[in-house]
Symmetry: C2
Subunit: 195 residues, 2 copies
DNA sequence: CCAAGAATAGACCGATTGGTCTAGAGAGGG
DNA sequence: CCCTCTCTAGACCAATCGGTCTATTCTTGG
């Protein structure tokens, strides 16, 4: 019937999706259970730590997947400007395709739960660290000075996170594209491109 | 005894503080009531719309106050670089003074509730629009080309929001300072300053 | 073929949630 | 003085919360 570990995976997927849309406290376990078509016993069998453990793993999962998307986009892009535009486009499409419900899969849970749950905070921290590393590696490949790559990658990560947040609230993705372009200007070290 | 409207104001203050620290769904009305030393009847008398109306007004309040702080800092700073450093310093101190519990008073509630409550979304939207306007005005005063000021102000707002988010998760404010410096570089239109 | 462990299934729990409702205290104008 | 309106006070409600527990159904190795 159900393959080993399938229920566990389905719970994780459902949880990741719901946490991304509704946040940590805004998502009830009963909803996760119903959407996963799993009984409560299975949840606490696979995640003895309860909601907290489920959230930490869900964030880790979506973070790893999105990180792999980033890495792929970085590899395919010829330069920083193009890469940032592509990443911005990815977030913009995710927002628009979900009626502005799905922004960053980490940010909401991070802000909500980081103060009260160390495991969740650590999971979010690890995801952001991995993303930053992807950006830093790519920037080095495009000739950014070694000692500046990490710092720049942080700025890229910050700006994108903020832009996705703003876009979600405004229900308008244009801020993402403009921010991505400004980041390109910054990394190229040239004066901002005229509009 | 209690002056007119005093209870209402106390409820708003308490709510703003708790929502900033714990988010919308993470904060129960009973806690707001207890911290405000107000009975439930008063809450629903002053805020017939319940929790939703309370949150919208609380976000508006803290947003306006922080916006005034921004305006003051902009006015006092001689140039964009200095101003951004000062704003970053303000957020950094808020985080450190609160054991990384108090980041942006809007972002958490915005991400949590924007999708499910239009009044709250609109309130957050208005706060961000006001902040953006403060930055844009200041940038124009520092010689940024008129048609670029609004767009730059958006990038500044995005980057700061993201940096404060990252700093809170990492429990390390350095990303705020570095992002503020990079923003200064961008606006000055010069190559990034060597480390 | 059967015993043992893995996993499912859901009833059940106390606590808490946001919200409603009735009663009465307090103050100000007539 | 007293009536009226504002506001306080908190009991009460159904619904939902995250979590525990026991019973049962699979699956698999011996």
């Amino acid at each position: 019937m159900t393959a080993r570990g399938e229920t566990r995976g389905r719970l994780l997927r459902t949880a990741a999706e719901l946490f991304q849309r509704q946040g940590y406290h805004g998502t009830g376990l009963n909803q996760v259970l119903a959407d996963s078509r799993a009984p409560k016993g299975s949840l606490y069998f696979h995640f003895p730590g309860g909601k907290e453990e489920l959230a930490a793993e869900a964030v880790t999962l979506s973070g790893r997947e999105l990180g792999e998307v980033f890495a792929g986009l970085m590899e395919a892009a010829p330069d920083a400007r193009t890469a940032l535009a592509t990443v911005g486009e990815h977030f913009a499409r995710s927002l628009e395709d979900s009626a502005f419900q799905k922004g960053c899969p980490v940010a909401t849970v991070a802000l909500e739960a980081a103060a009260e749950s160390e495991p969740i905070r650590a999971a979010c921290d690890a995801v952001y660290a991995a993303w930053q590393s992807v950006f830093a590696t790519a920037l080095r490949g495009w000739g950014v000075r070694e000692e500046r790559a990490d710092s720049f990658a942080d700025t890229v990560l910050s700006s994108l996170q903020g832009a996705v947040l703003l876009a979600r609230i405004r229900r308008d993705v244009s801020v993402i594209h403009r921010t991505a372009r400004d980041l390109g200007d910054l990394i190229d070290g040239r004066s901002p491109s005229p509009v």
